[in-house]
């Protein structure tokens, strides 16, 4: 699991750090961490429905913010619990462009034991940094 929930940051909310060898892996890890706050066992989510996500942002960290917000959006608007399966991040002129395929299914509390609803991604101490081993992010989700 390329992410961990942090005990000593945030009390009413949930903080995590996620990492990967490149941006793509890191974005997938952060997406899974966000979904894992809501659904206890991510393997219980079957890839029955597909959503294509396309985002662009001038700032790389805000691109990650936008991606996580998309997942939260689908959770409320369609009750869809999604995981990112393919992702591509490119720099095009003045902005970063993300293309991703998300697969998942509608929430069924009988098959998907839940934990806590994520209201939003906060920007408090939001970090996306390059490390020796790749990339790492630290994020606080509003619960």
């Amino acid at each position: 699991m390329p992410y961990e929930f942090l005990e000593d940051i945030a009390t009413a909310d949930i903080a995590f750090s996620a990492w990967g060898k490149d941006l793509e892996e890191t974005f997938i890890a952060a997406s899974d961490a966000t979904m894992n706050v809501m659904v206890e066992n991510l393997d219980s989510i079957q890839p029955l429905e597909r959503r294509e996500i396309q985002l662009q942002n001038e700032a790389l960290d805000m691109l990650l913010f936008d991606l996580l917000q998309e997942l939260i959006y689908y959770k409320d608007s369609e009750k869809l619990m999604l995981r990112i399966h393919q992702i591509q991040i490119k720099k095009e002129e003045h902005q970063y462009v993300l293309k991703a395929v998300a697969l998942g299914e509608k929430l069924d509390p009988n098959r998907h034991p839940t934990r806590a609803d994520v209201k939003a991604v906060t920007l408090h101490r939001f970090q996306l940094v390059k490390t020796d081993r790749g990339w790492e992010t630290q994020i606080i989700l509003d619960i």
Partner: protein, 485 residues
């Protein structure tokens, strides 16, 4: 800790970090709490509240209430009154869950009359007030109608048979914030909220059946005025907000503000979550009008839930809700920014008061209070943890020191991630049942994260507000049944 050394003791319950504490602070920060609460307070609170003190237009002090704890942007428990001409509006000073708040409802039933029905009541409430991740409500309306709902607020509920006339009078803003403009709302926000009316949400949101024991009535006259009149009277308290709709409104405008804040308005902040725009700017006004829609959504949500609660009690006891005396005591908002007039240095000033995890606490005689409470002051509903208890308090004239604001809950001391390692949901449920509290939850880990031990002592918190003179205790309420999101 260095910060504790920098704190100046103003009184037994008021502590100050001077404006010289951090570069950019425009006013001092004042933190409310007894010496014990101050010692135990999350260190992040001091950092966050002094960041708030740097915001343009902040008046007098950046304040934090005794239940203060780690937030984002503002600490939870943060209060900041901004000058409406010079000051800013900040979504981080309101919270994503716009108009998250509390509602308290009486019954004329005693504990003895309820106890044999307790499980049935809680089970039915759990069934009829959807809770947890991804829950949707029973009200089916189109997205277009939802835009109308968020402009009309709780008045819409009355027209649709989900409330009594008196309910509106007993809701802040009479259940409808004037100036809500749904043209300032994104389609995404509508998508996230239009099917969530009448749902609790999750995290620390809950619906609780409580008892006002005789020995816990701290002011008999005030308790009577608030409708607590018989020994061991049963009441219902609940805590929820504007759901995905409000969360999206805040998220949308956070991004709008980040884009214009520095480039267009030259505002520099110490934390991106404090993204702001001048209140008197197109972006600031748009957010204010959108936020009011979210405030209304939350009033609607709590009103529809009240309707469900009345139905459930009526079903179980075979009597009408009117006959069961199911009157509202009050509905308070604790995540808002409101336009208010307050006395500052002997002059009345127009201010935009941000309260994030803080309750408005108007004292006796203040405008905007319902006629029946004008003489005595505003009822204040403070929810504690599900294991310990909650309080009904009243606003006081001493509230002028905090722009008439007080605490909103007991405040957490432990992270959710840590709490779930210490407690187990099923075990906690059994233990609570042995102690006379029957709980139903949408999530076992969610229940464990809400264990009483993860919170400050509610008695200490409310006592601190009383000692500071910003609110006064009226009744302590003990939980007997709980629906947890």
């Amino acid at each position: 800790m260095a910060v504790l050394k920098a704190l100046e003791r103003i009184s037994d319950t008021v502590w100050e970090l001077p404006a010289s504490y951090k570069e950019g602070m425009r006013v001092p920060a004042r933190i409310y709490g007894t010496a014990k609460l101050i010692q135990e307070m999350d260190m992040a609170v001091y950092d966050q509240i002094t960041n708030v003190a740097t915001l343009p237009g902040i008046t007098k002090y950046a304040l934090c209430m005794p239940d203060g704890h780690f937030g984002y942007g503002f600490p939870i428990g943060g209060v900041a009154a901004m000058d409406v001409e010079q000051g800013v509006i900040s979504p981080g000073g309101i919270g994503f869950d716009i108009n998250c708040g509390m509602r308290l409802v009486t019954t004329n039933l005693t504990y003895d009359e309820v106890k044999s029905h307790l499980k049935t009541l809680v089970d039915k409430l759990y069934e009829r007030v959807p809770a947890g991740v991804g829950s949707t409500g029973f009200i089916r309306i189109s997205k277009k109608e939802f835009r109308e709902v968020v402009e009309k607020g709780a008045q819409w509920c009355l027209k649709n048979g989900c409330g009594w006339e008196e309910d509106l009078e007993l809701t802040e803003e009479s259940g409808r914030m004037e100036g809500a403009d749904s043209s300032k709302i994104s389609e995404k926000a509508i998508d996230r909220g239009y099917n969530q009316i009448g749902t609790l949400g999750s995290g620390n949101h809950y619906l609780e059946i409580q008892v006002a024991r005789k020995e816990n009535i701290l002011d008999e006259d005030l308790a009577k005025a608030f409708g607590i009149t018989i020994p061991d009277q049963v009441v219902v308290m609940y805590h929820c907000g504007s759901r995905g709709f409000g969360h999206q409104v805040a998220t949308d405008y956070l991004q709008v503000f980040l884009k214009v804040m520095e480039s267009k308005y030259g505002i520099k902040i110490l934390d991106r979550e404090l993204a702001s725009a001048p209140f008197d700017s197109p972006e600031g006004k748009d957010y204010f009008a959108a936020m009011k829609c979210a405030i209304n959504m939350s009033f609607v949500n709590r009103q529809v839930i009240l309707h469900r609660i009345r139905e459930v009690f009526s079903d179980v006891f075979g009597r009408s809700a009117e006959d069961l005396g199911m009157h509202m005591v009050y509905d308070v908002a604790h995540n808002t920014a409101k336009f208010e007039r307050h006395l500052v240095n002997s002059q009345m000033k127009d201010l935009l008061v941000h309260r994030k995890g803080a309750t408005r606490a108007f004292g006796p005689g203040m405008q905007d209070l319902p006629e029946r409470y004008k003489r005595i002051g505003q009822p204040i509903i403070i929810g504690g943890s599900m294991e310990t208890g909650s309080y009904l308090l009243v606003g006081t004239s001493g509230g002028d020191q905090t722009f008439f604001s007080t605490a909103h809950g007991s405040g957490r001391t432990m992270s959710r991630t840590k709490a779930r390692k210490i407690w187990r949901g099923q075990k906690l449920q059994r233990e609570m049942e042995e102690r006379g509290i029957y709980v139903r939850t949408a999530s076992w880990p969610g229940l464990a994260e809400e264990a009483g031990g993860a919170y400050k002592n509610i008695d200490d918190v409310v006592l601190a507000t009383e000692l500071a003179g910003i609110s006064k205790r009226v009744v302590r309420l003990i939980p007997i049944g709980n629906v947890k999101g």
